[in-house]
């Protein structure tokens, strides 16, 4: 048999045995052969109140396909509404999976990993869930559907690219398995979109303290856990109240930069609308009138104070230590200090312009930020410092190889 014959016979065998599932798919997707009106128009007309199809589920009667198609211009209302909707009690659930973007959703699943119930943690989430009947569906399908809807509604966007996926389970190992799988699947799903998404996956030990904290503040278990983890990162500046006021996006960004140990991390939250540490440094250097080459001991830390996420940038130059707090979103200078450091190499008299001796009793010598003066930094790129490995698929054939053991015949002659 020739190579060509082999190819033709293989093609013929597959073509003759390919199942015909077209009609079923068309029915499931509720699509007909004639072109449909643009979903954008449909959404505009209908305010999104129609039944929505969820992948993998039987379509509802009269439902319309295509929530994913609706790139409706729903602006991301990045306000956390603490509606205090019920927190899922574990009950007979195998695990509680929380998905937080700004909408926060908690999904209880049974031992077969099917959805028992899905609770909205805030109003945005309630809107999303109103369109879905997730009960009984596979958790993977439910997560995809929810994230798809968040994408469609603009909650996941270039300036809000992060998802917190948390799993709380009695069986921690099972919880870890579920978390890793769902995070990986979501990452795969989002890779096909234009959003450079970041996913932080965590396994939550939802003890009484975390439950009470979450319930008290009307947030998901996952978000409660993340806030508590952040408070343990050793910052002397961020407070519980600060963190409760932050968006999920900001919390994930802080967690990634402050080394909160996540079980899974894909992508960079920093890509979600922050100036980046390079630009923060450039802004500080410009304000200080110091060239990059003259700055030494440069340090960055991402922190949060008074509800603002800041790059805390410090460096020494010309005998002074400079310390700047730069707003991580808009690049404005929140505060700065300049302190004489004899070991930094020069005497104060050699310094130019105004400097401040750092005295502990007077903090009112901070400069107010002048937002308009930093527009010229837009040319700085947003390079990340810690490249995460986004490759979650191991392409090694060994992992999935069959066991036939006859793979290599050491015959490298080509035809």
């Amino acid at each position: 048999m020739t190579e060509k014959q082999i190819r033709e016979r293989l093609a013929s065998a597959v073509e003759n045995n390919t199942p015909d599932i077209l009609e079923g798919l068309m029915a499931e997707l509720d699509i007909k052969d004639e072109p449909k009106e643009l979903m954008r128009d449909a959404i505009a007309k209908d305010s999104g109140k129609e039944d929505r199809w969820v992948p993998g589920m039987s379509p509802k009667k009269g439902g319309k396909a295509g929530w994913v198609k609706a790139l409706a211009g729903c602006a991301a209302a990045a306000v956390i509404v603490t509606a205090g909707i019920s927190l899922s009690a574990a009950g007979n659930a195998l695990a509680v999976v929380s998905l937080d973007v700004n909408p926060g959703i908690e999904i209880s699943i049974d031992k077969n990993e099917r959805v028992m119930k899905a609770d909205a943690v805030n109003e945005e989430a309630a809107e999303i869930l109103a369109d879905m009947d997730l009960k009984g569906s596979d958790i993977d399908v439910a997560c995809n559907a929810i994230v798809g809807s968040m994408l469609t509604r603009g909650y996941l966007a270039d300036d809000s690219n992060s998802i917190l996926l948390s799993v709380s389970a009695e069986d921690a190992q099972r919880g870890t398995e579920i978390e890793r799988r769902l995070s990986g699947d979501l990452n795969t799903y989002l890779e096909d979109t234009e959003i450079a998404a970041a996913i932080l996956g965590q396994v939550v030990n939802a003890d009484e303290t975390v439950r009470v904290f979450a319930k008290k503040h009307g947030i998901s278990l996952g978000k409660a856990w993340l806030i508590q983890s952040l408070l343990e990162t050793g910052s002397t500046r961020m407070t519980e109240a600060d963190l409760l006021g932050l968006s999920t996006q900001d919390l994930i960004f802080l967690a990634q930069k402050r080394g909160v140990s996540a079980d899974t991390s894909y992508g960079e939250a920093e890509a979600g609308g922050y100036i980046g540490s390079e630009k923060a440094l450039a802004i500080a250097l410009e304000k200080a009138g110091v060239s990059r080459s003259d700055a030494a001991n440069t340090k960055y830390e991402l922190d949060c104070e008074n509800g603002i996420v800041i790059y805390d940038v410090s460096f020494t130059a010309g005998g002074y230590e400079h310390d700047y707090d730069i707003n991580a979103r808009d690049g404005s200078i929140v505060s700065y200090e300049k302190e004489y450091e004899p070991e930094a190499g020069a005497s104060p008299s050699q310094g130019s312009g105004v400097y401040y001796y750092y005295d502990d009793d007077d903090h009112d010598d901070y400069y107010e930020a002048d937002d308009d003066s930093y527009d010229s930094y837009d040319s700085y790129d947003h390079d990340d410092y810690d490249d995460h490995d986004d490759d979650h698929y191991e392409s090694s054939s060994d992992d999935y190889d069959d066991d036939d053991g006859d793979d290599d015949d050491d015959d490298d002659d080509d035809d």
Partner: protein, 178 residues
Amino acid sequence: MNAAAVDENLILRMADGDGAAFRELYEQTSSAVYGFALSILKNRHDAEDVMHDAFIKAYTAAVTYRPMGKPLAWILTIVRNLCYSRMRTGGMCEDISEYEDLVHGNDHGSVLDRIVLQEALSKLDFEERQIVILHSLTGLKHREIAEILDLPVGTVLSKYNRSIKKLKKQLDENGGEE
């Protein structure tokens, strides 16, 4: 049918809810989608499930498609990801009898065709199966297959040649027609 020649506009039309475009895309790619899934999973039931999910996803994710002149590669990447996801979750029912019944079951097509497919599924390794099936069913070039499988072109070429030799040898030993 040369699935490699899929018109990119079909996906763009699908993004606008065009059902006819969906039908056309299905007709042009279903064998490639099913065959590729089968080559990875070696199980017709799992392959059919993936085929189903892949077309659902292609339709629902069509709005996210960025025109790059590679519509088939886009769909096959969806298939590959779904297959890998299925393998990770361990929900597969891999069983050699599942593809043996391609030969002995009530399938369509010639027995010899099915024997060739069975040999390809059972005697080739994970990557070889995918390369041979994609090459046979899609009309994609080795370079394009290499991109989809995330392998060097040289690897794809040598694996392809080795696979064909292996299949020839096996089929000849089994009395396949020359």
